[in-house]
Amino acid sequence: MKKQQTGQSMDRVDGRLKVTGGAKYFADHQLPELLYAALVCSSISNGTIKSINTTKALRAPGVQDVISHLNAPPVPGYKNSDPNAKDGLKIFKDNRIYSNGQPVAIVLANTMERAVHAASLVEVQYNQETHYTDMNANMGKAFQNNRMKDYTRGEADAWKKAPVTIDATYSLPLEVHNPMELAGIIAHWDTPDTLVLYAKTQGVKNVQDTIKRLFQIPEQNITVHSQFVGGGFGMALRVWPLEIATIVAAKKVRKPVKLVITRDQMFTLVGYRPNAVQRLSLGATADGKLTGITHEAVAVTSPYEDFTEGIVSMSKFMYACPNVTTRYKLVPLNISTPIWMRGPGEATGAFALESAIDELSYKLNIDPLELRVLNHADTDPEKDLPFSSKYLKEAYQLGAEKIGWSNRKAAPRSMQEDGMLVGYGMSSGTFGAFRGKATVSATLKADGSLILQSAAADIGPGTATAMVQIAADVTGIAPAKIKFMLGESAYPFAPQQGGSSTVSTLGSAVTDACKALQQKLAGLAISHVPAFKNAAPETIIFEDGQLLRAGQSEKISYETILQQQQLPEVNVVATSQSGEERKKYSMYSFSVHFTKVHVHPATGVVRIKHIVSVADAGTIVNAKTARSQMIGGVVGGIGMALTEEAVMDHRFGRFVNNNYADYHVPVNADTPPTDVYFINKKDPYINPMGSKGMGEIALIGFAAAVSNAVYHATGKRVRDLPITPDKVLDEKGYQQWKLENKMST
């Protein structure tokens, strides 16, 4: 047998394109007669547009048109929508302004510079109304969306009766995905009802479906190209108003139009992780058994959509606790709509839950690791089902061993090293392990190469590489002879790349397509190849790219069958989805994060010195790209824990740090060596590969591992992310540091 490909650290199949500049992202495409677009965005945060003067802009050199609600061709799908339906911002439909930065016009010119300049010449006057952007000042407007009803298991708010309790409030600021690639689109109407798009998206089929609905043209008339995507982290999970604006503009001028938005517009046009305030209350017995968990969350949304996510989900099933209550409300503000950001709501919720568990451990004087093991949920207490696989305890032990947890002294502020306060912290994370429905086309060529196609997206995890490895194991064909093609709407259906489900969903479809291809080859052999004549299909064995008959020595390679029959290729299309197994088992991935931090006693600066993350994500398909997923999530977690916060000036409803210099995503020097370990045990039920998802759990819980370590180092609990020095600083620590360092001032 050939070497098993699954589990190998295979180099990325698109690595060469990425290191040579050959990978084409949406904005890298050039079309004849291309026009460049620039957006004019609202400078007020609530009100209406009084007038738009485009005279100067239209006179500027190279300008083709300025399009706004005054002259935009109507979007047919907007026509019959219910104005109270809260179904999104309808760009250029009317003069209503809901938030600062909302596009009010799009300027088209024959160069980018001319479009940008002309956009500055558009004069917009507004009727300004009072805006509301401060969540804390608008808590009275909080309401419940019926997607997220209150949840109670056992007795409501049972924590109040427990002998040992924690009742704390945690807050998380608004965070912005900020992928390196700026958002935008190239739109070209080939004919009045045929549209070609080069998009930045996590799902070409989703784009096609949205455009079909809004522009009411047949699906086959919409072509979406998106072969390379420069990061998404959730922001490319929907079609945004800026994309509709470009498509509308292209329709009006009947020329291809390219829009690439600016970094500051990335803060207002393509979603964000909503800021949230959470109250987490725990009740436990004196010996550490949880008796009650109550998790209440309030998060922001836009005036025109109710965005909900899994903020309170983890608290329902993570620990074996008989009494759990969750409540979740939204506050509508004059800002754009949020969207899932890596780890999504679960990452927000995990910060609160895993911080509170840590707080409880100190109150009980039980090791935080031990407390988690003590309350480990052996079965899913929410769904009352067994887990399909769960090796969390193993992950705890492995992580503890690798970080050197046994060196940790239990008392806070008890460890020092090189003049720094030393802290160790840990946390756990979990996210649903999903499997959706996907279709894969598999074509075997007469030269023995295999082409697989599906309309999946790849925002970076290495989808094509993993699919090649999976196909190689099913077919026995060498990886070098297999090509997996994605990012084209013309390919068979695949869902969006989101929710850590791509390998599970698409890998299953690849497996099924490859098996169907083998059956088709077997059929050909039985009909036409003498040695296989009249063989029962079930007696045919597939090995190393060849067909064998049980108990007989003759073999025939796949390509020989094609060559003998003079077939240029054999094609199958297979659709794959989950079955009854999902009703019998609760399916989750789990992660454990350990950190060691240094905190400067005088300045409160936190430096993470060492990270150990362990993933229980089933079978690892590619050890190299899986590690990259994990360290990537951890870097996102460092940002969440220590640096990221979009700061709004509520007087104007504008972000004051809407750029990479002031909104601090971690840079290389912010990140320490990171050790990643995989349990790498097959989930027997989820899918043929036994792989669960990894993208989200890489980040979920990480921020708590840092805040818990900061508490251990300093004795100061920071419940308000990010953990900036001002929140860690304390007078006592500073005075002591001065004394120890013989500082006089």
Partner: protein
């Protein structure tokens, strides 16, 4: 000093200075226009051809070993010239403010943010972009190392990271992982491949190959 080199390498540079003087003459024509009746100005504003002459300057440079001569508006950045006019789209725009490093290229051997430099400032300069780093089919050692160590996920920051990494080694700033982390901090990777990038650079540095 760079000017001396430029004179040596670009004897035709003088001609370009003369071209600039021509431009100044044209600018005088613009002054004259300002004094002409508004109706004429209005007509001129609508005339693309006239605007094109007024607003563009000739510039020549060597990009990836190839001499190019173009006429650009003075406000066009080197990044936008590469991407939008020369179809060298490997160099990426991540912020347009010199804050992310995605647009890093080499100018006369030094790494710079091409979004923060104007194309007209590059007269006579030698520019290397990601497309010019490999020797034909033979990848540069840093490109090889990035593949081996998976120094990327989405790949968008990668051209900038690699150009920066090559310069980082040449500058002598790749002596330790800590030093690499410091001197590679001008290149943001939102996918968070930093640890792998450090491994890739360390391996090339320790391999001792000339980069």
């Amino acid at each position: 000093m760079p000017q001396e080199n430029d004179q040596q390498h670009y004897p035709h540079r003088k001609e370009k200075h003369e071209a600039r003087r021509d431009f100044l003459k044209q600018s005088s024509a613009m002054m004259a226009l300002a004094l002409t009746p508004p109706l004429v100005i209005k007509a001129a504003q609508h005339d693309e051809a006239i605007a094109g002459i007024f607003e563009k300057m000739p510039v020549s440079m060597e990009i990836n070993g190839k001499k190019i001569e173009v006429s650009v508006e003075p406000r066009v950045t080197l990044l936008d010239l590469l991407r939008e006019q020369l179809n060298l789209t490997g160099t990426k725009k991540g912020c347009d403010h010199g804050q992310c490093g995605a647009c890093t290229v080499h100018v006369n051997g030094h790494r710079i943010n091409s979004c923060l430099t104007l194309a007209v400032m590059q007269e006579g300069k030698k520019i290397t972009t990601i497309e010019g780093l490999a020797n034909g089919e033979q990848l540069h050692p840093v490109q090889e190392a990035f593949i081996k160590h998976d120094g990327f996920q989405c790949g968008y920051c990668t051209p900038g990271q690699i150009m920066s990494a090559v310069a980082c080694i040449r500058e002598g700033h790749a002596g330790s992982p800590e030093e690499i982390r410091e001197f590679m901090s001008g290149n943001i990777c939102r996918c968070g491949a930093y640890d792998n990038i450090v491994h890739a650079i360390t391996e090339v540095k320790q391999g001792g190959k000339t980069v």
